[in-house]
Structure formats: structure tokens, C-alpha cells
């Protein structure tokens, strides 16, 4: 049951091949026996999952099941879950049990999905390797010496190790796409505002977006159908109509214009990763797509602009963690100042502190114009580059990452080397566009991804291209050797 897709599981449940109770038990057993190797879950929700599975079985028996009824799903530990600890990978929230569900969680519950547990992540989603988690890093199921990527590394590892049929992630600068690429799964970051941010613990509010992580584009489409939609409780949620994201999956690619930004294929790209992307593009041209060379001339300013805007917004958002209302509080504070400063010293890890400090600096009197305002101006130039390109092409493609997964510890002591891991993904968040990573082969035994970038609200086209690609390739159904052999 762990070897088949969400779409196949949904059919199996309807055809009574197995029950949701059996399916959920199967995944809980796999997590219990295997996850010590991958550390992909922070919290497993066994009893609530079994109760939800029983309820789903009653719905299935009554014939009023939704597409995801009875399907176990893992959620990144950034989504608030009513009555279930939500840590955001931080000591600050190690004891935090939210009194409400995030809108994303509510929607999955409404549609009958079973919440398996909460997945590991970089602390407050700040990282590209899962190594900044208070709970220790998740590992890459293709090579446990390597990182699964981040920040949604636990979700990617859980799906790759077949410890969940699908998962949710969030993406502020690449945090769905990069771990999806490293773990050989399919991940979609929707357009900014497509999925509600209510109850999703904020990192950088103008960049954060939730999306599905699964084996295939078809499964991502099924999850997005549940996740997407306007939420009146999130003022940044887009009041744009949703669609059935599975409807266009099989559309022809004949005449599709794919833009290749020359800045994404130059210096810094690992040759074998570039070759895998080239081979993937060839598959798309074989189906009638046409390749067009384009340029995103402000690409070299993406990393600097992002590392002003994201920390600035983070420093503001994370000011709420004060040791007064919830979360960690230091022992025996002598006064209020001591309570704040020591709580935050103890509660936050090094990378989170660094970003708060950089953000505080960029927003402070005398530096605001030179850093924050400047970065916001550059942000508009970056977005305009994309809009200009979309006059000539329907979609943009390139590598998701500069290379395959790096080793645990290889970059954890060098923040800037880590930041450069997201060089191809950050601009998509700055521009608010949808982006996707699709498994495109292997480099030295670990997976790499093809990134697809679409126009605002053009998720269906990305899913269509990815699905057509997955009809003629099998990268996305391959399993990590130790999983396929059943040795793990």
C-alpha cells in the first residue's frame, strides 16, 4: 500500500481493496519501524489518526467520500493543529499545543484526509538542509549521509521513504522545491496567496506559501484541490477563483513555448545536473514544446534582495515570541527585560538569531532606505523580468538546484554557501509566481529536479507539463534502494 500513488489509494479505498484503517495502520507501522533512520517526523499522531481513519471508513461506506477521504497525509510542523504540538522545529515552540487548526489543516479534515503526524523542518523554516531543526536533521532516504534539503526536509524525506503517501510543505525561498528535488519527489509552490496562510507560522509574510509534496504531479493536483482557495481570515489570500487542478493534466504540449533563462544554465550549475535538465527538456520538445532562450537580467541580485526582505519580515514576525503568552519561557527571570532576552536567547537557534539580527539591522533607523527600500525596489525589477519573459513564453524551465543533495555538515557552518543553494528558487517567491520541482533523473545516485515556473495563478499548466513528462519517464516512481529492497 505504500508503493502506490494517492490517486491509486483513493481508488483502492472506493473499491474496498483495503480500508482507511488498514492503510493508516500500515503507514503508522512503517513510521514506527523505519523513521529512526530518517527522523522525518517530529510528532506522530497515532490515536487521532486511527480515529480519523475509522470516521473515513464510515464515510466511504456511506458513499459520501471526497477525493482524499481516508488518505493519510503528513503535515509540515509549521501548520497549527488543534490539540497537537506544533513546534516549527524550534525549542521556542517545543511545548506549544495550538488551540486551533490552520486553514490548510481544516481543509484536509473537511475532505476526510487522515493526519498522520507533523514533519521535521528547519527551525522556523529558515534553512535549506533541515539541519537547523531543534529535533536534529532529517536524512535523505537516497543517501542517509546527505541532507534531504529544507526547510520542508521532513515532508520530502517522509514521502521519499514511503512513510506518507503525500505531505504538505511551505516555501518561502525554495523550501518545497529544493527538498523535493533532493529527495526525488514532486513539489509545487503555488502562486503567492493561492493557499491560506492562516495558522501557518509566519516566517516572511510576503513570500510564504504552502503547497503539496507528493510522488507525482497528479497527486499534487489532488492535494492542491483541497488546499487552494480564498480565505477571508487571511487578508493576503487571493480572491481569485480556483479550478479543478486535475482537469488539464492530460492537455497536449503541442506549441508550448518554454523559456530557458540563460542565467540559470551558467556558472555554478553542476554539469551532470545540467545534463539531466537538458534531457528532461528534450522529452518535452518530443511532445511538441518549443524552447526559447530568454534572460532574467536581475538574477544576480536575487540572493541579496531576498536576504534583506526575508530577514526583515522574519525579525518582525518573530517578535511575537516573548515568553509571555505561549511557548518557551526562561527560568526565574529577574525582570521583564531579562524575561524577553533570555527567553529568546534560549528559544531560538543560531540561524534564526542571525536572521532576526540582520532583519533588525536592515529595518533600523538610518539603514532602512539603503537596505529594505532598496531591496524592495530590486524586487520589483526581478518581478518585471519575469513578466517581460512571459510575453514571449508560456512557462520557464531550468534546474531546481545547482547540484544534487550535499552532505550533512558540509554547509551547516557557512550561512552564505547555504543561501546560494537556493539561487534558482528564490526569485519565484520574490515575484510571487508558482514554481514546481519534478524528478528529472539522478546524479551520482541521488535525485535532481527540473524546475518549472509559471505565470501567476497558472498552476494547472505547471501540473499539466509535469504530468505529461511523468507519462514518458519513471524517475518519479523510483524508490530509494533501501526502501525498494525492503531492507529498511
Amino acid at each position: 500500500m505504500h508503493q502506490i500513488s494517492v490517486a491509486q489509494l483513493a481508488k483502492g479505498l472506493r473499491d474496498k481493496q483495503f480500508s482507511s484503517t488498514e492503510l493508516t495502520r500500515h503507514f503508522l507501522d512503517r513510521i514506527a519501524s523505519l523513521d529512526s533512520r530518517y527522523n522525518s517526523y517530529i510528532t506522530v499522531s497515532e490515536s487521532a489518526a486511527m480515529a480519523a481513519a475509522e470516521a473515513a471508513d464510515r464515510q466511504l461506506a456511506a458513499g459520501d467520500a471526497a477525493a482524499l477521504t481516508g488518505i493519510p497525509i503528513a503535515h509540515k510542523d509549521i501548520f497549527c493543529t488543534d490539540g497537537l504540538r506544533t513546534s516549527c522545529g524550534s525549542r521556542m515552540l517545543d511545548n506549544f499545543v495550538p488551540p486551533y487548526d490552520a486553514t490548510v489543516i481544516q481543509r484536509f479534515k473537511r475532505d476526510g484526509a487522515v493526519l498522520l503526524g507533523k514533519t521535521n523542518m528547519d527551525e522556523f523554516a529558515m534553512g535549506s538542509s533541515n539541519e537547523s531543526s531543534f529535533y536534529g536533521p532529517a536524512t535523505n532516504p537516497w543517501d542517509r549521509e546527505r541532507v534531504p534539503g529544507g526547510s520542508s526536509g521532513g515532508s520530502a524525506a517522509a514521502v521519499a521513504a514511503r512513510l506518507a503517501p503525500a505531505a504538505t510543505g511551505t516555501d518561502t525561498g525554495g523550501s518545497i522545491r529544493q527538498p523535493a528535488a533532493f529527495c526525488g519527489i514532486t513539489g509545487l509552490k503555488p502562486t503567492y496567496g493561492r493557499v491560506s496562510r492562516l495558522g501557518m507560522i509566519a516566517f516572511a509574510s510576503s513570500l510564504d506559501q504552502a503547497g503539496p509534496m507528493a510522488r507525482s504531479a497528479q497527486d499534487c493536483a489532488l492535494l492542491l484541490n483541497t488546499m487552494a482557495g480564498h480565505d477571508p481570515l487571511d487578508s493576503t489570500s487571493a480572491a481569485v477563483a480556483t479550478e479543478d487542478y486535475t482537469a488539464a493534466l492530460d492537455n497536449s504540449l503541442e506549441g508550448l513555448r518554454i523559456g530557458l533563462p540563460r542565467e540559470y544554465f551558467g556558472e555554478g550549475l553542476d554539469a551532470a545536473t545540467g545534463a539531466a535538465v537538458d534531457a528532461a527538456l528534450k522529452e518535452l520538445t518530443a511532445q511538441g514544446a518549443r524552447l526559447v532562450e530568454i534572460s532574467l537580467p536581475h538574477s544576480h541580485l536575487t540572493v541579496p534582495a531576498y536576504y534583506v526582505i526575508a530577514p526583515a519580515e522574519a525579525s518582525t514576525n518573530l517578535s511575537r515570541f516573548d515568553g509571555v503568552r505561549y511557548g518557551h519561557r526562561c527560568e526565574d527571570p529577574v525582570d521583564l527585560h531579562d524575561l524577553y532576552t533570555r527567553t529568546r536567547e534560549e528559544g531560538f537557534g543560531d540561524e534564526v538569531k542571525r536572521r532576526i539580527l540582520v532583519g533588525t539591522y536592515a529595518l533600523s533607523a538610518g539603514y532602512y532606505d539603503a537596505y529594505y527600500k532598496k531591496a524592495q525596489q530590486v524586487r520589483r525589477l526581478i518581478k518585471q523580468d519575469f513578466l517581460d519573459c512571459f510575453e514571449q513564453v508560456d512557462v520557464i524551465a531550468g534546474p531546481t538546484t545547482p547540484g544534487p543533495a550535499f552532505r550533512l555538515g558540509e554547509k551547516s557552518d557557512d550561512p552564505i554557501a547555504m543561501y546560494l543553494e537556493d539561487v534558482y528558487t528564490l526569485a519565484v517567491n520574490l515575484a510571487g509566481l508558482p514554481g514546481m520541482s519534478v524528478p528529472a533523473g539522478f546524479v551520482r545516485g541521488t535525485p535532481v529536479g527540473l524546475q518549472l515556473i509559471g505565470r501567476h495563478f497558472d498552476e494547472s499548466r505547471l501540473l499539466n507539463i509535469a504530468h505529461r513528462y511523468q507519462q514518458v519517464t519513471d524517475w518519479h516512481v523510483q524508490e530509494p534502494p533501501e526502501i525498494a529492497e525492503g531492507a529498511a
Partner: protein
């Protein structure tokens, strides 16, 4: 732009984060590296470019001024480190 250790101390105070004396040098060095990297922005020509705060250039939606939420004080305070009689407790602020 180089940043001095006393500036980091000031920023840490603004951010209400205590930094151990043993770590302040290391923190200063790493933040200097990051600021050096972001200084590439200064070379960009941004004359007449409107700063962009929201990727969709969306504006704040308004709604009618009606009560839509119920009072959940007990649930919220159940997860607080210290409360008494419906109030959040902190160390004494006024002598």
C-alpha cells in the same frame, strides 16, 4: 558595509536577544559576511522604481465592523507560561 561589535550589541538589544560575551565576536563576523553579500544591491539602478511590498501589489481588504469571533480566553491562557485571574503574569515592572 562593515559592522562593529558594539553595533551588533545595539541591534541585539533592539531585537531583545541576549548574546553571550563568548559568542558576540563570532556573531559579528557572520553578520558582517551577510551584509557584505547583500551590499551588491547598492550597485543596482533603482531610480524611479516603486518599492514592492506585495508580489501581487494587493491592497488590504476591508470588512464590516462586526463581531465575528467568540471569546476563547480560557483556551488561549491554558497554554501560557503563567496566568492568574485571566491575566498573563510577568515579573514586576513597577516598584
Amino acid at each position: 558595509m562593515a559592522i562593529e561589535q558594539d553595533e551588533i550589541e545595539k541591534i541585539a538589544e533592539l531585537a531583545r536577544i541576549r548574546i553571550d560575551a563568548d559568542h558576540i565576536g563570532d556573531v559579528t563576523r557572520r553578520i558582517t559576511d551577510i551584509l557584505h553579500m547583500v551590499d551588491q544591491l547598492q550597485a543596482a539602478d533603482t531610480r524611479d522604481v516603486e518599492p514592492m511590498a506585495n508580489p501581487l501589489d494587493a491592497t488590504q481588504p476591508l470588512r464590516a465592523d462586526e463581531v465575528t469571533e467568540s471569546n476563547r480566553r480560557e483556551a488561549f491562557q491554558a497554554i501560557a507560561p503563567a496566568v492568574e485571574n485571566g491575566l498573563y503574569l510577568v515579573p514586576k515592572v513597577i516598584e
